[in-house]
Subunit: 282 residues, 3 copies
């Protein structure tokens, strides 16, 4: 059974670069239970960063494969009954084997059926919860937090993300600036790290958020702790989006350039372009 | 319960430009129940034109979401049992809430099982039916029209499309030239508008027809009437394809350029490139 | 009921060029029962080479459509219960109608549930089995061959592929060099043809292997025998990858360039770039 894992320190650029080097070296196998819109893009994003995707999402194989994979992504975008059963099995197996898994609670606050699914999945201790601001607020609201409306106000999202640290080791709310929260040190102090950069074209391409969830799982497989992994995934993602926007200014060509840039990101690009704000204790 | 809606006049360039301006301003939310091949491309096409896609196609959420969306796309490309149930629920909910919905009857004339599904869906009054010529002929044939063979002769498609106006406010048959029919004025006169242009590369890229259905739904959400919406979608689509073909001559790069062009289309491009033939009363 | 078909001779460049000319001329209809990750890419790859894809994979229509299609692809990437039922129906119908079908046993050796599905499908005599080395070794192992481990050693893959000729007319194991085996002449001598070329970027793009399976089905629909078809598909694929790598050096742009190149491959490109090694009798 998973326990909350604190980062040794608030994740900073050096930790991101170290995590990235491990990602390239280890090529983690990431099991994806994701939506039909994103399956191809998520797999290509994982391949682009050097990870290995496996879309094993049927009830017969999901649990067994979770024991074999290095991390698991569970994305609620277009759940079928069979996939929901698989999600519970995979989450339980990942939790049992102490493998990190990521919950991407797509629209969980807005749609009650999947909201209930997301709440049940929380009992299997995701390492990471990643969503946009309204999804994080919505999910926290289902759990009794104050963020019950679907406001996407970043300040509300931070509060909601911090509340969700009861269920996960790190939580992020994506937006123009990404808000990433986690616990730090032996005392488990809650810390907020803001990640800037990215591109306004990201939300013009479908499944980019899903790909960020998958990238978070890949980093979780190779990082010391989920908070560092989640910050690293956000930074890698934002830097790649900036690089892509250098050569593409419309959504079709941006999607292609973004996959190229996920591949191209290296230590120099991270050092030159990462926009990690000073951590803030909450 | 939906009633047939006539256009005030046969849709012309000015109406298309006006509809396009509303699409950009309102960013309608389009619920898509579509096939697995097209899901990603349809979502990206909707994002490219400025609409907001949501692929909610499970029986637990389909009806509720239809009340929330601005329009609904139902595409029969790869139906599963659960999706078929969702389609009926979403169509019924859209009809009940007077939201426009689009039926894309992929292969409905050629395959009896989905033919039966399509016929049942007609009872929920789609605002728009969009298919290629043989699909429109096939669907009309299932409903007792004369187009019982699967001929793709444009003349047969026009007859079949007009017959289907008993079930929908506007119907189109895509081809080298697109044939769009609807009713005009208080008398509900049936009018044919032909839309030219496009590119021979469109049928070389999968799911472009599905994306046109989705675009029709987005325009239906913001237009005065479905006939105007459907003509506007066909014109936007054909102009984008022409723009894409200016810079791409093979299917992979054309698909990317086409998404860029769906985004790039503006009033000037519509005015310069639209090929709307003089309307013809049937 | 299908019988094993031998090639008249070990497939060589002239046979590949002839098969390619028939593919372009006949535009075969290929029914695809494939995984959710690959559906869009497989359809676009088939369109790019001039074939016509149809993703009919529901139990209500799968068998009927197999009688109508020119060839069938069955890919085990992300099987659902309904799809598994469809696969059996389609394979049985294809076998009964003497239509060639291709089995792509994704991860069949590593995952017991789908391994059992793959073994049952073998009873319907696929014309072609195509996988990567570990999948071919794994499938042969399930059938009692010696390749029971998941080693990807090419030598083991050749042995496993030859063993699988008990169930199919041609078998290939993809890798840096592709190994294709089939029977030749009246005596049914087992022959190995190695196909080189390709690009290291192919495994960096998801669903490229699935697309090769689909291309094999398209060639099987128009070729004298499955062995020739399978060699032709591998050569077309490898030449297209080389052409794509001339203009793209990262996975996003490579995927786009690869679809363009599948379209661009012609007799001259095949003659200039095909790398077919001298056949070897096993």
């Amino acid at each position: 059974m998973a326990i909350r894992r604190s980062a040794r320190r608030a994740p900073a650029l050096g930790d991101v670069i170290e995590a990235h080097a491990r990602l390239r070296a280890r090529r983690p196998l990431v099991q994806c239970l994701t939506n039909v819109v994103s399956a191809n893009f998520v797999a290509n994003a994982l391949l682009a960063v050097g990870a290995s995707p496996a879309m094993v999402d049927n009830p017969q194989e999901a649990a067994g494969f979770a024991g074999f994979a290095d991390a698991v992504l569970i994305n609620l975008g277009t759940p079928t009954e069979a996939q929901v059963a698989s999600m519970r099995l995979a989450a339980e197996a990942a939790d049992g084997a102490d493998k990190p898994w990521v919950l991407d609670p797509v629209a969980a606050g807005a749609l009650p059926w999947r909201g209930g699914i997301a709440v049940k999945l929380l009992s299997y201790y995701p390492a990471i919860i990643r969503g946009n601001a309204s999804e994080i607020i919505g999910l926290a609201g289902l759990e009794g937090g104050r963020g019950v409306d679907s406001s996407a106000d970043p300040a509300d999202a931070v509060t909601a993300a911090a509340e969700l640290l009861e269920h996960a080791s790190a939580v992020s709310a994506s937006g123009a600036v990404d808000h990433v929260v986690g616990r730090v040190g032996d005392a488990g102090e809650i810390v907020l790290v803001r990640v800037g950069g990215g591109s306004g074209l990201l939300p013009r391409v479908t499944a980019t958020g899903c790909a960020l969830g998958a990238l978070s799982a890949a980093y979780a497989a190779v990082s010391h702790d989920p908070f560092t992994a989640l910050v690293a995934a956000h930074v890698h993602f934002a830097v790649a989006a900036e690089i892509a926007a250098d050569s593409a200014d419309r959504p079709g060509s941006f999607a292609t350039a973004f996959l190229d840039a996920l591949d191209a990101v290296d230590e120099a690009a991270l050092a030159a372009r990462a926009r990690i704000e000073a951590p803030e204790t909450l």
